[in-house]
């Protein structure tokens, strides 16, 4: 079964699942209310978006220079930087490092790039125990599921689901009070933090002028993971770079507001290397893996370059009428929602993932909410165009579009085909073929009633009405 067929089946099942829709609606309603309040803390939200866009545009326009500056400063502090062209190279680097240092246990905080390269499963295959430490990630890891959402990985679960899961994994629970559930997870992970030999984090930003990695969490899990184990590994994409530490004065509040509605996230951490000589605690080793994995291809397309501006806040997922109905798992991709539909064909192949560009109403809600002003719905159109130009399309579709073009490029052909079509539809519906496999409008009438077929063309009706006035 192809990815497209999988997607269609999942989408149909999920959008018909009323319980699922209720859960996701509650989650996103909660988010919407928080963001409405959060934006009021800005005197001018649009100006904030423009400033963020400017920062990311500057960073992308001089990406080579900023990455080299970042690398130089990390090395000055005794850290190591590895440039990985593919996910395979990134995984191999971490696996070899873990093996060389005898790592048995890893505490990991949330990283979409780690999901992108399937890092955790690769480590597990080597017999290394990996603890997801973000609560949402911890929950989906226990369920052996992929994250449902970039920011809220367990948004599809109720507290009852989570209580049942914890009862199954940790024994008697007796309550579904979120406070107790959080305390249970804290206890379960606390020992791991103190015994793990390696901590893996992602990066929200890479700050060129100070050679520091910015990691944002509300729970403080990344801070523990990059403080206690003796090795800290950062896995991230090359596009996370920003020029200056002062850029964070706007990026941190905007990321928080777009991501959760908070004015600023609880822990915004900057880390630039292993423990310095004069510092009493911290890791002995610091490794940053800069991943390309298709990002330079996106950079090479000037029209789609700005897709690399994404700060992974999840706002476009929450705004998207498709995501709101089918949820995150239906996509079966690392990145879901509008940004995922734009990005995935670039990361994993246009041919297999071109269907995602069609999973959109082109309503533009994603573009409106994007805090770095990525023109998301136009990029979905770009992907559609690219798919027609480069990917294998089915021959009936090509013939249909040729026929359509032939029809609409001449006024008399257009009138003639319309005349035929109205008659064919009327006769077939008179024969009772509506919503049967022989219905010419089958794709529409499968789930809907057919509209009444007019007797005359729109042009004729127009002429008649304007003549009457």
């Amino acid at each position: 079964m192809t990815a497209a067929q999988d997607f269609l089946r999942n989408a149909a099942t999920k959008s018909a699942d009323l319980v699922h829709r209720q859960i996701i609606r509650r989650g996103i309603d909660h988010y919407d209310a928080a963001v409405r309040g959060g934006r009021l803390r800005f005197l001018n939200w649009q100006a904030a978006r423009e400033k963020c866009q400017d920062i990311k545009r500057e960073a992308m326009n001089h990406l080579d220079r900023y990455l080299e500056e970042f690398e130089r400063r990390v090395k000055e502090r005794g850290g190591r930087v590895f440039w990985a062209e593919t996910g395979e190279e990134a995984r191999r680097y971490i696996l070899e490092l873990a093996e060389a240092r005898g790592v048995r246990t890893i505490v990991k905080s949330k990283s979409m790039v780690a999901e992108e390269i399937h890092l955790t499963s690769a480590l597990k295959k080597q017999g290394i125990q990996v603890f997801e430490t973000d609560l949402g990630e911890f929950i989906v890891q226990l369920r052996d599921e992929a994250p449902y959402h970039i920011v809220t990985p367990a948004m599809h679960l109720t507290r009852q689901d989570i209580a049942a899961l914890f009862k199954d994994k940790f024994g008697s629970m007796g309550t579904d009070d979120p406070k107790v559930l959080v305390a249970t997870a804290r206890e379960a992970l606390r020992h791991a933090f103190f015994t793990a030999e390696m901590g893996i984090t992602g990066a929200n930003f890479l700050v060129a002028d100070s050679g520091m990695v910015s990691v944002t969490t509300n729970e403080g899990n990344a801070d523990l993971g990059l403080s206690l184990p003796k090795i800290h590994v950062v896995i991230t994409g090359i596009e996370k770079i920003i020029p200056s530490v002062e850029d964070l004065a706007i990026l941190w509040p905007v990321l928080a507001t777009a991501g959760t509605g908070q004015p600023i996230t609880c822990y915004n951490t900057l880390v630039g290397g292993p423990r310095a000589a004069n510092e009493s605690q911290g890791p002995e080793e610091f490794h940053v893996i800069l991943l390309d994995n298709g990002r330079t291809d996106l950079l090479a397309d000037p029209q789609q370059r700005e897709v690399l501006h994404c700060i992974r806040c999840g706002a476009c997922l929450n705004a998207c009428p498709i995501y709101r109905n089918i949820g995150g798992h239906a996509y079966a991709t690392t990145y879901q929602g509008p940004i995922g539909s734009v990005l995935t064909p670039h990361l994993h192949g246009l041919n297999e993932f071109q269907h995602l560009s069609q999973a959109s109403t082109l309503c533009g809600a994603c573009t409106d909410v994007c805090p770095v002003k990525i023109d998301l719905h136009h990029h979905l159109l770009h992907n559609r165009r690219n798919a027609v130009e480069r990917a294998n399309r089915l021959w009936p579709e090509r013939i249909a579009f040729k026929a359509w073009r032939w029809t609409v490029t001449s006024a008399w052909r257009f009138r003639f085909v319309g005349w035929i079509a109205r008659r064919v539809l009327r006769w077939s519906y008179a024969l009772g073929l509506e919503s049967t496999p022989l219905d010419p409008l089958r794709a529409w009438t499968m789930d809907r009633a057919a509209p009444p077929i007019p007797a005359t063309s729109f042009r004729a009706q127009w002429r008649k009405q304007s003549g009457a006035n």
């Binding site: 062209e85 979120p178 403080g220 822990y267 950079l299 029209q303």
Partner: protein, 221 residues
């Protein structure tokens, strides 16, 4: 390994440079005026703003007249906690604080090694306080990396002279004063650890402290 490492680097950089030879289409003109619009409202009274933000973000802020009064407050806060290790940053200002003898017995100074897994509280200084967001910036110098996150209670001893109005000014200061160069670790802390990963319901005290206390002395002395 070293060979492939450096060639991977060169290939990525070469691809970036080739890609950037074609400039992106210019963005549409956005402002009618050339002056960018202000993003945040100006802050008139930094201390008042800091108090307000702390109240909103679940920071327990206690303002005292001087360091003597701050020490008394600290003693009270520590007395309210279960008995156990109190991890304290090894700093002259904190060594000087007059704490009662029961408290002194349980202190583990940061120069004696990292905080224990079961420490009851951590007491540290801060680099900068940020009024705009009601935040505290700590560095590796503030008791070592992780000092502010390990214990269930983190207490920051600060003075009003450390208060900076905006986040932008605070970050500029980190760069200009070399704080970001001297320290391998910095953290902007805003309130106590929290999560809303279960049904978007806010729960305080995820992996980090359940209580975040800032004792702020108005005078340096």
């Amino acid at each position: 390994m070293a060979q492939t490492e450096s060639s991977g680097r060169e290939r990525i950089l070469a691809r970036i440079r080739t890609a950037l030879k074609t400039p992106a289409p210019a963005g549409a003109a956005r402002h009618f005026s050339s002056e960018p619009l202000p993003i945040f409202a100006p802050i008139s009274d930094a201390l008042e703003r800091f108090k307000l933000e702390c109240a909103n973000n679940n920071t327990e802020l206690i303002v005292t007249p001087d360091s003597g009064a701050s020490a008394a407050v600290l003693d009270e806060v520590l007395a309210s906690l279960p008995t156990g290790e109190i991890f304290v940053q090894d700093a002259h200002r904190l060594r000087r604080l007059a704490l009662s003898s029961q408290r002194r017995e349980n202190i583990r100074w940061s120069n004696e090694g990292a905080a224990n897994e079961n420490a009851q509280a951590a007491v540290t200084l801060a680099e900068i306080l940020v009024a705009q967001t009601g935040s505290v910036i700590v560095s590796a110098a503030c008791g070592g990396r992780g000092a502010s996150i390990v214990a269930p209670v983190h207490i920051v001893m600060a003075t009003a002279s450390q208060l900076v109005t905006t986040l932008e000014a605070a970050l500029a200061q980190l760069r200009e004063h070399g704080t970001a160069t001297r320290n391998s670790y910095l953290c902007l802390i805003t309130g106590s650890s929290r999560t809303a990963d279960i049904e978007k319901i806010l729960v305080m005290g995820a992996h980090g402290p359940r209580r975040f206390v800032v004792i702020l002395a108005l005078s340096e002395n």
